[in-house]
Amino acid sequence: MDQTQGYTDFPHQSVTFPEGVALDCGRMLPSVTVAYRTYGTLNEAKSNAILICHALTGDQYVAEQNPETGRPGWWQRVVGPGAPVDTEKYFVICANVLGGCMGSTGPHSPHAEKPGALWGTDFPAITIHDMVRVQKRLIEHLGIQKLFAVVGGSMGGMQALSWAVQFPDMLFAAVPIAAAYYHSAQNIAFHEIGRQAIYADPGFKGGNYWAEGGRPERGLAVARMTAHITYVSEEALNRKFGRKLQNAEGISAFGEQFAVESYLQYQGSSFVQRFDANSYLAITRAMDLFDLSSEQAGELAGAFKGVKARFLLVSFSSDWLFPTAQSRAIARALNHVAANVSFVEVQSDKGHDAFLLDEPDFHATLRGFLNGCAEHAGLS
């Protein structure tokens, strides 16, 4: 194994469930490891726990420096002492998703049936529901019967929805942010470009790159570049780069010309240092497979029958990946079952990524919602 593959060597805090987990695809994962971090203190009644669910390329280091990349926690603005998800008040849990590459079982974990090998492309197809089933094991392992809240943005929001639907008695509140109840054809199409870029990289070697110590860096970088465009708005890109030139020495058809190009290339190259290509393939597929209404003949409201959680749905006005219409559709379907729903669209020109950025209105909304819920749950 290539020792430069940083994402495998670090001793992440984790727990292993040797009994494994049955997956939606019909296969069984014989043993499952969940890497996780916690912040704050679990109260005596074990009633103040909030699970944070990360997005496609996130990890469990939500509120502290990531030990592998050295970068600040990905949601340090939102989770921490005195933050909207206040770790002085709540016990916060964040786990690396099933299929991930930060210590949880995924394509880069040891193969269950082939000693010495990694799963690689043998890793079974996973779903958002599978990820949540594994998180449920962790929550039970921590001795928590009912979460106070499940909060997540983007793919994390899909997990929050999955929690509310799969385990209605195990959470008091659900907060899907910039989320959707299904992955649209456009969403899938963008993911497919990324996957094709990875397949086309000679370094991919049919998914067995790990055996020969290489990585499909170019392919994964292009996948990230494509995805990154969908995370930002046209307005934000214009504001940041406009038509600024990177190479002012003259017109060239080849090589870099515009500032936005080198920005994207930087996004791509910094990503390949920390992410496993097979993980990327497995998780994007899990997102593509997500459709809460699929078992209800397209009627989303049917999926919400029996939900008990209070909901806060937040969308961002310039998000074209998971636009406001998606959140509104979820809110309306929840109305159909008379669920307790708060829903607001936050004005922002930062696109889908706004949920990760400095958005005071969003932060005040989240804080207020959790305060209101805490009062109803008898937490304050």
């Binding site: 109305n335 159909h336 729903v341 607001v344 669209e345 909304t365």
Partner: protein, 205 residues
């Protein structure tokens, strides 16, 4: 976020019509003042819908369950009998389809509480008679071409609509501009002349 605060007079009148611990939806709830009062002072399961995004944001940030939406399009998404009371305070005259909104309110709820500015008030009648222009008062203070109040009606008109659609007026009163109760209760014609607002508690026959 602790003790019950004093609320606007007209909202207090509405709250007086709601039984404790009821399931309530406040349509056009603004920053959620009435929702908060019903939750705290009456232990209701109260929620709100509001069209203005800034108001919604303020309400949620204050810990209240409020969703952004439009009365004309959102009420159809609720199931039958989901609530004990649906409240529409000073909003009926601004919706696209007042009759349909009322019908939806009494589909999803046992009771409907509706307040609206009374276009039959003497000062409006007098202005129209003497000046021949659309009246302008404290309550009707926008020019005809920009007012959001696209469906003005009088207290008498509202009685007539309830009669036509078979709604029982369980309680009603006329109020002044601030929402204080006025003494025209037993006389609809006088209320229609002197009441600045009408407030109705309806149920289906």
């Amino acid at each position: 976020m602790s003790s019950a605060k004093k609320i606007r007079v007209d909202l207090a009148l509405i709250a007086g019509m709601v039984q404790p611990r009821a399931r309530v939806l406040d349509v056009g709830c603004a920053d959620g003042q009435l929702v908060e009062h019903l939750i705290r002072a009456k232990q209701c399961d109260a929620r709100g819908i509001e069209i203005d995004m800034d108001e919604v944001q303020r309400a949620i940030a204050h810990g209240l369950p409020v969703m952004q939406g439009d009365a004309d399009t959102e009420l159809v998404t609720y199931p039958d009998h989901a609530f004990d009371y649906v409240i529409l305070s000073r909003t009926l005259q601004a919706v696209e389809q007042p009759r349909e909104v009322l019908r939806q309110m009494l589909r999803i709820s046992t009771h409907a509480i509706v307040s609206f500015p009374n276009f039959g008030h003497w000062s409006l009648r007098l202005q129209l008679l003497t000046r021949g222009r659309m009246p302008m008062t404290a309550g009707w203070n926008r020019m005809w071409y920009e007012t959001p109040n696209i469906h003005p009606c009088t207290i008498k008109d509202f009685f007539a609509l309830c009669d036509m659609d078979g709604y029982v007026v369980q309680d009603w009163l006329a109020a002044d501009e601030e929402g204080r109760r006025t003494p025209w209760r037993r006389a609809p014609s006088l209320a229609n002349l002197f009441g600045e607002q009408g407030l109705f508690l309806l149920r289906k026959a």
